[in-house]
Symmetry: C2
């Protein structure tokens, strides 16, 4: 994955913003209250998030309302899928249902690291 998804999420303040936006779209000044940095910093983080496709923005009066986009999360999910066998194999012991699902999806997997 050549994407910047992890670089973007590496910053705890940006994660905080993303988590706040998880509850729905928010204006910038609302996000400022959710973190402990200045408004200028929040705006810069929002620019980074926007450039990376994490958020969209729409204007409403003097406010800018930001909300999450699915793209980067899909990318993240896609990247993780290749490691899912690492811990789903362990869940197999608790139910044949999961086992069947994983087996059907994973096909041949060389090694399992519990």
């Amino acid at each position: 994955m050549e994407s910047v998804v992890f670089e973007v999420l590496a910053d705890s303040t940006r994660r905080r913003i993303v988590e706040t936006l998880g509850a729905g779209e928010r204006a910038v000044h609302v996000l400022v209250e959710a973190v402990d940095i200045q408004q200028s910093g929040v705006s810069r983080h929002l620019r980074i998030l926007h450039d990376a496709g994490f958020v969209r923005v729409r204007a409403e009066g003097q406010e800018r309302l930001y909300s999450l986009c699915a793209g980067p999360f899909r990318e993240l999910d896609k990247w993780m899928r290749q490691y899912r066998g690492l811990w789903e194999a362990r869940l197999d012991r608790f139910g044949a249902e999961l086992n069947r699902r994983q087996r059907a999806r994973a096909g041949k997997r060389r090694e399992i690291h519990p």
Copy 2:
């Protein structure tokens, strides 16, 4: 999430190492061939990965064989689960409020990230 999972995966070289280990346990000198930095750098990255719980090590002769651990991936999956509604389930759960607000004022939209 207070973890360092994203910080660790933010570095492309470390992601490369993780992806290589996804195929099974590997010795350090093998990982060095997979990336384009010196061996000392790889060892330092492996230390970071080890401290963060991404990998385990076992000695075999003069080699150190590294392999992936499930913990951080489980954590990542747990974190992502809270956003899965963005692209899997359509407009249930938290999407209701978002949808209502967006429909109420579906005015001028500046940029859209699909």
